[in-house]
Symmetry: C2
Subunit: 466 residues, 2 copies
C-alpha cells in the first residue's frame, strides 16, 4: 500500500465524520434565507483546504448585478516543477429540500444506514468534492508533496446555474490557468460500471406569470364571465408540447445537431434495462419525444419540463375562488449547438403569440438566471484515455462513454474562457436521488473516489497530458 | 319612529361594536385547525340569541361520516298566535384568507375606514346574519313581543357547501317547520338598487391528482424520458374547456334548461355597464362561453373553474426538478336542471378518458364534499311581492329580479325537505370583495338591513303569506 493510501485508510472514519459535519450546513443556494449557510459552507471548505496543506487559500466574493453572489473558494499547491497543472472543480451548494415531509430523516441531519449516508448534498456534490481535498492531504502528510500541481476552485451557486461563477472564471483566467480541469461533480453508472462523461446538456430557465382581475374573485359570481388565469396558464403550457411530447415552439430545433447513426449505435451499446428503469422509478410507461429511445431522449435530445406550477387555493377542502394570478417555472435542457438565450427568445415568442389568443389576462414571460451552454468533449482526449485506464483497472470494466441530461454550466465556461477541457471524476451513482428527497451517497463510493483521484494524479505526473 | 326602530337607533354603536367582536373569530370552516373557531362563533351566536330574548337556544352538533361536523345554532320565539312562522337562516363560518399578504389590515382584526368595516366575513355573512338577531331584540325589548313567530337556524359550514347541514335539515323537519325562510345571506345590487334573488346556481367540487414516479426526479437526468405530472395535468385541464371557454365534457349540457327569449329579455332589462364591470375588475376583456352575454354567463349558464393548482417547486429562483405529483381543484356551477352528482360523473368520465391517452402517469379524480342543486323561485311568490314592496319603499326603486352565480345549497334543501321557498333579505353589496382580500361591509347597509327586517316581519304579520 502506498503511503498516501495508508494515510487515507488510517483516517477513513475521521473523513466520514468530516463529511457529516459538512452536510449539516444547509447551503441551499436558491433561497435567500440560506445565503449565510452557503457562506458558511465556503468557510468550512477553505478551512479544510488549509488544514490539508493547500496554500493561498482564499474565499473570494462574486460580485453580481443584484449585489454580491455566493462566494468562491480557491487554493493551490504549485511545487511540482515540470509537471502538469490540474484545476479541481466542485460545488458546496445544494438543492432545496421540499417536499421535506418525504424525507425519512431531516435533510440536514446526516444519517448513516446500510453503508449509505443520507442527506441533501451527500452525492451532489459535497461527498464528491471533499474527496480530492482528502487525497491531497494524504499525499502532503505522507509524502510531503503532490505528484502534480493542483489548483482548487469550489463554487457555491452550481445549483442555480452559476450565474456569477461563470463570469468569475472569465475574470480570473490567470489564477485558474491549468492544463486540465478535473470536475468532482458527476456520477458513475453503477457499483460495477464506470463511465466517462463526454456530453452535458445546456440549460435555460424561465417563468410564466399570468394575471387576471385586480383581486381574487368569487368563482360563483364571476366564474364563466371573467377569464381565469389558471385556465389561461394551462392552455399556454399545454401548447408548449404536443400530446406526444414534442416541443412545439417554432425554431426550437433549428440548431440541434441531429444524432448520427454512429452516435445512436454508441448510445445503444450502453446496456440499459428499460423495464427495470421504469419499474425502479415506479412509472408504468415511458413518455417523450417520438422517434427516439428513452436513453436518446435523456442524453441527447433537448427537453422542456415544467418544474413547478401554482395558483389559487391549495389547502384542504374547497374554496370557491377565481384566482387572479397563476405561475409556472420551466427549464429547458439543450444540446449542441443550441444557444440558451436564443432558445429563451424562441419560447418567449411562442408564448407571447399564444397569449394574444388568450383574452382577459396579462401574460408575462421572463428568463430566470442560470443559463448554460451544452458541452461535448472529444472521446479520445488524452485525459479521457488516461482516466479511462484507471477506471478500467478499478472496476474491471472499461468505461461507457456517455452523455448526461444534467447541466454543468462551468464546463463550457472552462472551455470557452480558459481553453481547457474537463474530465469528470466523481463517484455518486445515478440511483442516489440527487435533487429529490432521501438523497444519499454510498460510503463505498466515497472510498473508491479517493483511490481514483490519487491514481489519476500519479499517472498524469508520469505520462503528462499530451 | 316606532319603538323597535328607536331601540335600534339607541343601540347603533353597540351593534357595530358587537359585529367587530363577532368578526374577530377566525371561523374558517374549510381548515381543520379552525374547527374550534367555528365552534366559538356558534357559541357567540347562541349567546347573542339568548341575550336578545330568543328562547330554546341550542348549539346542535352535526354528525358526519368522518366525525362531528361544524355545529348549528337554533333558537325560536313562537308566541305570535295565528301569525305565520318565519325561519331565519344565515351562516357564521367564513372563507379562508389567503393570499393574506394582499389584505390591507389583518383579516381578523376588523377595521373601520370611510364608513366601511373591513374583515373576513364582514358581508359574507356575519354582518348580514347579525341583523335579524338585533331586530328581534329590538322588538322584544321595546314591545315585549315579535310580530310573527320566528325560528333561527344558523350554520357553520356554508363556505364548504353545507355537507352535514343539508342532511341536518332533513333530519329536523319538525323543528324547522315554517311558512317561509328568510335568508340573511346574499347581497343587493348597489346602494340605490335593490334586488330579489330568484335563482342560485348549483355546485359540484372536484379534485384531480396526477402521480408520476415514486419520488421527485432530477429534471436534467430524467426530463424528456419520464412523464411529468404537471404536463399531464395541464393537458387534462386544458381539455375541459375549448379555447373559447365552452365546457367540453360530453353530456355536461344535457339537462340544462336553455334560456328562453323571455328570460334573456328579463336579464337584459337589468342595467349593466359591461365596460365599467371589466374596468372595475381590472381586466382588459371578457371571456366566456360563446353565444351568451356576460350577465347570462354569470347568472344563467353553468361554469367550470379551476380554483387552485399546484405541483413541484414554487419558491424563489430555479429548481431543476421533475416533480412526482401535481394537483388541481375545480368547482362547477350548475343551472336548472343539472344534477351535481350526475355532472361530477360526466366530468370524471371525460377526465378518465383523457387520462387513458396520457401515458406514464396515474390520474385520480375525486368528488369533494359540498354539492348543491340549482334553485329557482317563482318570481310572483307572495313573499317576493311583499318583500319587493318593502324594498321599493326603502330604495325608491322596484327591485330587479335577478339570478346569482353563487350557490346556497341549503335553499334547495329547505325546498326539498321542508317544502318552503326562501326569500333573501341581505344587504351586502356586490363590490364588497366576498371570498377575496379586503372583504368589507358598508355600515350604511348594516343599518338599512335592520329597518328592512322589521318592516318585512310587520307586513307578514298584517297580510299573511297566502
Amino acid at each position: 500500500m502506498k503511503p498516501w493510501e495508508q494515510y487515507l485508510a488510517d483516517h477513513r472514519e475521521a473523513a466520514v465524520s468530516e463529511l457529516v459535519d459538512f452536510l449539516r450546513i444547509p447551503a441551499i443556494s436558491s433561497l435567500k434565507e440560506h445565503m449565510g449557510d452557503v457562506a458558511a459552507a465556503a468557510e468550512w471548505t477553505a478551512e479544510r483546504l488549509r488544514r490539508a496543506g493547500i496554500e493561498n487559500v482564499q474565499v473570494m466574493p462574486t460580485p453580481g448585478p443584484g449585489g454580491a453572489g455566493h462566494p468562491v473558494v480557491y487554493g493551490d499547491w504549485l511545487h511540482a516543477a515540470g509537471k502538469p497543472t490540474v484545476l479541481i472543480y466542485g460545488h458546496f451548494d445544494v438543492q432545496p429540500v421540499d417536499p421535506v415531509n418525504l424525507w425519512t430523516n431531516p435533510p440536514f441531519e446526516p444519517t448513516i444506514r446500510d453503508g449509505r449516508i443520507y442527506a441533501r448534498g451527500a452525492g451532489d456534490d459535497k461527498g464528491n468534492m471533499l474527496i480530492p481535498i482528502l487525497v491531497a492531504e494524504a499525499f502532503l502528510k505522507s509524502e510531503g508533496k503532490l505528484p502534480v500541481n493542483l489548483k482548487f476552485i469550489f463554487e457555491g451557486q452550481e445549483e442555480i446555474g452559476s450565474p456569477q461563477f461563470v463570469p468569475f472564471v472569465g475574470a480570473n483566467k490567470e489564477l485558474l490557468e491549468a492544463d486540465l480541469v478535473i470536475s468532482a461533480d458527476g456520477a458513475q453508472e453503477s457499483e460495477t460500471q464506470p463511465i466517462l462523461l463526454v456530453g452535458f446538456k445546456g440549460l435555460v430557465p424561465l417563468q410564466i406569470d399570468v394575471y387576471g382581475a385586480k383581486t381574487d374573485l368569487h368563482s360563483g359570481i364571476y366564474g364563466g364571465a371573467v377569464a381565469n388565469p389558471i385556465h389561461a396558464l394551462v392552455r399556454l403550457l399545454d401548447g408548449l408540447r404536443s400530446p406526444e411530447g414534442k416541443i412545439q415552439a417554432p425554431g426550437f430545433f433549428d440548431d440541434v445537431v441531429d444524432l448520427t447513426e454512429a452516435d445512436r449505435a454508441q448510445i445503444a451499446a450502453v446496456p440499459f434495462d428499460e423495464a427495470k428503469y421504469f419499474a425502479d422509478l415506479g412509472v408504468s410507461a415511458g413518455f417523450g419525444e417520438p422517434g427516439y429511445t428513452t436513453v436518446e431522449r435523456a442524453w441527447a435530445r433537448p427537453t422542456l419540463e415544467i418544474n413547478g406550477i401554482w395558483g389559487g387555493f391549495q389547502g384542504e377542502g374547497v374554496k370557491t375562488v377565481l384566482p387572479n394570478e397563476a405561475h409556472a417555472k420551466i427549464t429547458c435542457r439543450l444540446v449542441a449547438n443550441q444557444d440558451p438565450d436564443q432558445i429563451y427568445r424562441v419560447i418567449e415568442a411562442h408564448l407571447n403569440k399564444a397569449a394574444e389568443e388568450t383574452p382577459g389576462v396579462r401574460v408575462v414571460v421572463k428568463q430566470l438566471p442560470g443559463h448554460a451552454y451544452p458541452y461535448l468533449m472529444p472521446a479520445d482526449h488524452p485525459a479521457n484515455r488516461l482516466v479511462g485506464e484507471v477506471l478500467t483497472e478499478m472496476y474491471g470494466n472499461p468505461p461507457h462513454y456517455v452523455r448526461m441530461g444534467g447541466s454543468v454550466p462551468v464546463l463550457m465556461a472552462f472551455l470557452r474562457q480558459l481553453g481547457i477541457y474537463t474530465v469528470t471524476l466523481a463517484f455518486a451513482l445515478e440511483d442516489e436521488r440527487h435533487h429529490a428527497p432521501d438523497e444519499f451517497l454510498r460510503l463505498a463510493s466515497f472510498e473508491r473516489g479517493k483511490v481514483a483521484f490519487g491514481e489519476v494524479w500519479e499517472r498524469i505526473a508520469e505520462r503528462g497530458l499530451e
